[in-house]
Symmetry: C2
Subunit: 242 residues, 2 copies
Amino acid sequence: MAQNIYDQPDFFEGYSGLARSVKGLDGAPEWPAIRAMLPALDGRRIVDLGCGFGWFARWARTQGAASVLGLDLSENMLARARSETTDPAVHYAIADLETLELPPAAFDLAYSSLAFHYVEDFDRLVRAIYGGLVPGAHFVFTIEHPIYMASTRPGWLATEDGRRTWPVDHYAIEGERRTDWLTKRVVKYHRMLGTTLNSLIDAKFAIRHVEEWSPTAEQIAGQTELKEELERPMMVLIAVRR
Amino acid sequence: MAQNIYDQPDFFEGYSGLARSVKGLDGAPEWPAIRAMLPALDGRRIVDLGCGFGWFARWARTQGAASVLGLDLSENMLARARSETTDPAVHYAIADLETLELPPAAFDLAYSSLAFHYVEDFDRLVRAIYGGLVPGAHFVFTIEHPIYMASTRPGWLATEDGRRTWPVDHYAIEGERRTDWLTKRVVKYHRMLGTTLNSLIDAKFAIRHVEEWSPTAEQIAGQTELKEELERPMMVLIAVRR
């Protein structure tokens, strides 16, 4: 079973205070780029893998989605998600992405935001998602970028000549990474970007778009701390089609 | 027109002394991985973009290729390539990849090794290659990895705690990079990996395999200096299909 950091009190409290938890989708600077990669949602049956507080589920319904199933490992997050909607077409359930099973050909869109880098067996997960989608269905997800995750000691480096740069090492050595983020010893799984793409291709998905997210000039003007995201990608956004 | 470093005497002399120039394909540690990504060559009409000394062209003919057209910007390299074969099914011609034109649907395989990072307009090049291939044709190429190229000062960094790491900065700022390699001020063009893939997808190629090359344990055992290639990828190998 995947590590359930979200139900640790210190992590949950920290996570609940992030802009993306307080403001929802508009609190995530990558949201406009994700939205541009989504198909029209009208009439679609959607599964959201790692749905958290349910922001995407509720938004998808405003866009005409027929139904949304939100899955998450965290009881705490689902409790809050359930408390925030009475929509009968939105359902939430506990699920571990390491052992995910979906009903066959039940969904038109699979969506996931920043959850899969916590999953060790990505090949298995991708096959499970493929089986749950109808032919022609879309699958759009975001993960931490491997450039951001690869190093055994990720974090900005000041060099002797006064530059600021990001360390990349151990890139080809895939597997567990432990970092401190909101709580101690968060377990993530580093995979090369090529590995992620090849898993999708091997499962018969067609790659539609790969975006190593960086902020627009307009976003930087409004929020200057985003400028460092030009230096190294923190996230990658991927759209594929069954 | 692309910078023609290969016809600068110091560069040409340095390049001619590299293992991959002296030993040919087997002098390039990434060659076994490239070979595994190639289709069967029997009967194929091949274009090699940036063919250099013609090692791949001659090898492809030993694998049953029907014909090989080798294109390169360098008169020096083509002169040596021509001197090393009398095969009537191998042809060489001067071409600038910035302005490449190919006869329509004339080839079954396009191949290129470590040439496209010298090309500024990759979108244009990809469309030209697409037009030169028959439906179902393969396109396999290698480029310097953007992790290797992105920084304004690429090169190993020693950190205060004794680690060795590779700097990544300016990753989202695409365009010209000038570095010293065999000669001064070699001009290369940095593109994010996502940009390269999206150019291929937009041109209607299907992505088949993306390999951020790293050496095998066996290769490292035989050539210990390859170990550092586990830390950050120097090259990416991409296979697509029209």
